[in-house]
């Protein structure tokens, strides 16, 4: 018995009832569609978060004021903001950290604040980042025009600024901002560089491109910002992250109480978020998969109808030499083709849907989930086809031939 003949006969009988076949596969279509959409969103979010962390810099430990990291490693943005006001981190802590040496590379204190940025073209809310020249390397912040501030800029507290790409775009449209003056909180700064765009502000991430970068010492002298928001410490090798963390804790504990600082590991936070996201994705896909089961039941139902409608055909085929297995396989192929067709339509719609929502939400259809959806829909057809096919296979040829 040829498989191709059976497949052909399965497709013929599916096409015989086009409307019915479509309605039957609708359950599988919706199931696969939602699985693909949800996994695409989960996948897209994971990629998005990874990118966000890449913009922050790699192998970084962050020493922040207060206890913003829970025992479990969770990160609390609000606690961070609250403890900022009472930050006990000082320049001497920075020097102490610098003295540790290997495995800690660069150390950069950062003072952050909200600022108003004005130019002749207008005004914009911005985010000031005051640090040392090392910041550029630690946070992977490059300039597309001009230069980053230097050690001498910091030493002399010069009022120079590197503006974010969005600030440049909005406040210096059509002009080369280098050498121009910009007012930050009513203080005039000279623009010495424009930062490379990070495009992190889409989908609700922090808008790094609206930052203005100024020398560390200028923040207190010109803007009156004195509290250290956090200290960045770069670890020379990934493998040394834990050792570096321990060392930093040791040094800091000699200087401050335990509750006055936290040391966070970027990779750890990333891992935590990725875990949450993948659990979420699996959970959502699991819920969506329930509709696949419903779709499978629909297929089983219609296959049972098909078996009783074609009782006479089954009897005839048996009389002409079809074994129970031949009949079983014929109906299994039919239900498998039916649900796989639904799966293929669902995949197409799911991928199109994911691409459609991409403009406002990160969604990336993964090849693995497409293959999985295909496999699952095929399996659904087989699993839910077994019962009707068994029923067909065990029909007595005489009874079946007599059936009107």
């Amino acid at each position: 018995m040829k498989f191709s003949i059976l497949a052909k006969s399965a497709i013929t009988s599916i096409l015989r009832n086009k409307t019915r076949s479509f309605l039957t596969t609708l359950g599988v279509i919706i199931g696969v569609l939602s699985v693909i959409l949800l996994t695409s969103i989960g996948n897209g979010l994971t990629v998005f978060v990874e990118k966000q962390f890449e913009t922050i810099g790699s192998n970084l430990l962050i020493i922040s004021p207060g206890e913003i990291v829970s025992e479990e490693g969770g990160f609390n943005q609000e606690a961070a903001a609250l403890s900022l006001a009472s930050s006990k981190l000082s320049d001497r802590d920075v020097s102490a950290l610098e003295r540790i040496g290997y495995p800690i590379g660069g150390v950069a204190p950062v003072i952050e604040g909200s600022v108003d940025v004005r130019s002749a073209q207008g005004k914009r809310k911005g985010f000031s980042v005051a640090s040392t020249p090392d910041y550029s390397e630690l946070r992977n912040t490059k300039t597309t025009k001009g230069r980053f501030f230097s050690q001498s800029d910091v030493a002399s507290s010069r009022k120079v600024v590197v503006i974010g790409s969005k600030i440049a775009e909005k406040l210096f449209a059509g002009v080369n901002p280098i050498g121009q003056k910009v007012t930050i909180n009513r203080i005039r700064f000279e623009i010495i560089g424009v930062a490379e765009p990070k495009n992190s502000g889409n989908f609700g991430g922090p808008d790094i491109d609206s930052s203005v970068y100024i020398p560390y010492t200028t923040a207190s002298s010109a803007l009156g910002q004195e509290k250290i928001s956090y200290i960045l410490a770069q670890v020379t090798q990934k493998e040394e992250m834990n050792r570096a963390k321990t060392k930093i804790k040791e040094v800091m504990l000699r200087r401050l109480n335990e509750e006055d600082f936290s040391v966070t590991d970027q990779a750890e936070i990333l891992k935590t978020i990725q875990n949450i996201l993948s659990t979420l994705t699996v959970g959502l896909a699991g819920i969506a998969a329930i509709s696949l089961v419903v779709g499978g039941i629909g297929i089983m139902n219609i296959m049972l109808v098909a078996v009783s409608e074609r009782t006479k055909e089954i009897g005839l085929r048996k009389a002409l030499g079809a074994t129970p297995n031949n009949i079983l396989i014929q109906f299994l192929i039919e239900s498998a083709v039916l649900s796989t067709l639904g799966g293929v339509f669902g995949i197409i719609l799911g991928v199109l849907g994911a691409l459609a929502i991409r403009s406002f939400f990160p969604a990336t259809p993964a090849v693995s989930s497409i293959l999985l959806a295909f496999g699952v829909s095929l399996l659904t057809g087989i699993v839910f086809g077994v019962f009707p096919a068994k029923k067909a296979a065990t029909l007595s040829p005489i009874e079946a031939l007599r059936y009107e």
Partner: protein, 239 residues
């Protein structure tokens, strides 16, 4: 059985002491009661009997569609006792051709594909295609190969069914009321075809309640109440 058949003629199908009974609640229904019957190669047999006489059940057992409660069936030298459904299917496929009252063609399937249906299960569709075309041509359906059953007249449909019964060169062809659904002209054509096939050496068994139709056969077996009551050779065949 008293037949005038030459004893040296090959027995195609032999039934000895066949009984068939059904259990209906606590009641046992005996449909066939000890049937002994031999069908010889090249015979044209009519099994006649009123409704409920057991002739259909007899045909089902002879055609390996049903299994006897007791007794033995020997088909083409093989004993058919306690065989699996798959084995029965194989025997039907290889040794038996069926012609039904309702034609039983698959709709949405061309005449040629219908004729080739048994070969789907014997796995030799390709090698039998030329033969199927030849049989259909022989039956006057050379122009109808690609037609669907609903594009054919009743007589044409029954001829397609006859071609289907012939495709695997069966040892016996069973025709269950083959003219029952046809007008008299088409019925006459079908009978002529059966006679011609028998003349070519085919073994044919017709099952009918129509005594007139039975007269075309060379041998008539009358069934009544689950038993053979008469087994006669028709010396003068007429239609």
């Amino acid at each position: 059985m008293s037949t005038s058949k030459n004893n040296r003629a090959e027995i195609v199908l032999e039934l000895s002491n066949i009984s068939k009974s059904y259990q209906l609640g606590d009641q046992t229904l005996d449909i066939l009661k000890g049937i002994n019957l031999s069908i010889y190669k090249g015979e044209f047999v009519a099994i006649v009997g009123p409704s409920g006489s057991g002739k259909s059940t007899l045909m089902h057992i002879m055609g390996i569609l049903d299994q006897q409660t007791s007794g033995t069936v020997t088909l083409a030298g093989r004993s058919v006792v306690d065989i699996s459904e798959a084995e029965a299917a194989l025997l039907r496929n290889q040794y038996i051709g069926f012609i039904f009252q309702q034609f039983n063609l698959l709709s949405r399937t061309t005449a040629l594909e219908n004729v080739l249906l048994p070969t789907v299960y014997s796995g030799n569709t390709e090698s039998k295609t030329a033969k199927a075309i030849a049989i259909l041509r022989n039956l006057g359906l050379g122009e109808r190969l690609k037609n669907y059953p609903n594009q054919l007249s009743g007589g044409q449909q029954q001829r397609v069914a006859i071609a289907r019964a012939l495709i695997n060169d069966p040892a016996v062809i069973f025709a269950d009321e083959p003219t029952g659904n046809l007008d008299s002209k088409s019925g006459h054509e079908v009978i002529e075809i059966l006679k011609k096939l028998n003349a070519e050496g085919r073994t044919i068994v017709i099952v009918t309640h129509d005594v007139e139709l039975a007269k075309v056969a060379k041998r008539t077996i009358k069934i009544f109440d689950g038993q053979i009551v008469q087994d006669t050779i028709n010396h003068k065949q007429k239609l």
